[in-house]
Symmetry: C7
Subunit: 94 residues, 7 copies
């Protein structure tokens, strides 16, 4: 994929329904903040963001749960991605 996130942003790709079932995770959420399981596709460099040092702790390949509502969705070569801030990632799934 040819998208490189800036600053503390992370590009994630929603995990397909089949995979979600396999890992046994079913998500419930309000209309305002829809949590979803996703895979990390690309990670920004971190550094100074709004005057604060941000160290990136997620890695490409991590499965993550995010608060999707503040992300931006893009479609590249037929695949849908979401760009979120690392701070919007709640947990990793192992």
């Amino acid at each position: 994929m040819n998208l490189k996130p800036l600053a503390d942003r992370v590009i994630i790709k929603m995990v397909e329904a089949e995979e979600t079932t396999k890992s046994g995770i079913i998500l419930t959420g309000s209309a305002k903040e829809k949590p979803e399981v996703a895979e990390v596709i690309a990670v920004g460099p971190g550094g100074m963001v709004d005057g604060k040092e941000v160290v990136m702790t997620v890695k490409v390949g991590d499965k993550v749960i995010t608060s999707k509502y503040s992300g931006t969705q893009v479609k590249v070569e037929g695949e849908e991605y979401t760009i979120v801030r690392q701070g919007d990632i709640l947990a990793t799934v192992e």
Copy 2:
């Protein structure tokens, strides 16, 4: 459980009604901020969050009272969990 919270987040599991009765705690709350008793299942690493150093003070196994409204609910292998920030935990129950 296979969820690892990031930053200052804590994964909690609501304590069943029977347990709540046993410890003698009955909660009342407004529609906006529903307090609940929960057990801590996993604790994030803390560290720099929004440019501020956060030290995690809750431990796995702690019974806690939280302001549930800002949490995100997930269901893993049939169990429901909530992901909150440590700052949303009001007190521990001993």
Copy 3:
């Protein structure tokens, strides 16, 4: 009581009507911010809260006037308590 407040939180218990009359304090307040007289039951450890050092200055047994609206009410063994931040306590009553 078996509740231990976290960070800058304080657990208080409303003073009964009889006591309120005894000390001669009658409170008036808007619907939005209802002041009440309460006794401090437990005090959190203070320390870093939202990146700021908080020193706890109220003590168990203090009679206090608070802005109740941001507190959370819990009922333990038949007694009702309120959990507030120290910053929501306006004054002590001697």
Copy 4:
């Protein structure tokens, strides 16, 4: 009076109408921010408030003009008082 304000709070008592007339001050204000002349009855210790050092500059006995809207009113032994933050005091009247 037996109220001791915390942090940067100040307890004030509205000056009676007669006094207001005597000093020649007539106040006009919007419904949202009602300025009033009051006498300082008790002054909190100041110190760190929301992570910022506050030095108290008003003294007991000062006549002050405040933005009353953020204050909390209490009645002690038949007298009405208002608890405000020092930052809500606009000026002293000499």
Copy 5:
């Protein structure tokens, strides 16, 4: 006049319509932020305000243009004054 402003506050007095015409200044403004020409009557000491050092740069006698909407109006001995923060003063008129 017997009003002493606190902190970064400044007491100003609207310049009469005649004077406004003499200096050739006619002001237009929205209902939300009504700019006005005024004379500085008293200047607070400055110092730490909300944790930030404020140096007062306006002087008694300065003619100033302000955003009046956040000020508080008082009437002392038949004269109307407005209390504003120095940060609400946009420019001086020479």
Copy 6:
């Protein structure tokens, strides 16, 4: 002109329609944030503004594009000016 801006404020004068056409710039904007081309007439001294050091980078005579919505309009000796903060200036036009 006899207006001296304070702090990080800048006084600008809208460029006439003819000039706008000459430089080939046509502006479009939403109702909420109307961009306009203007000439810088006076520049404040900068310095500490809201506790942050501001260095003024625009100069008298610069042509600038601003977000006009937060400015205040004044009329001096028949000319209309706008007072904006330097941070509301988006770009210079050369």
Copy 7:
């Protein structure tokens, strides 16, 4: 082009529909935050912005995805540009 952005602002130009198709990127977005692919035309100097040091990391010629909603559109010599803050740029496209 004769526009020089100030501070942390970046001038971008939306990439034509043909180009968008060629790179295989199709964008979806909510009404509130419309993401778009654009080319960087000019980059501000960075430096202290709102009291925080900003280092510019995008370069002229970069293809970027932005949250367009906070930008300001201008038309210069028949071409439409958008002025955004660097922080509103989510990712670069390679």
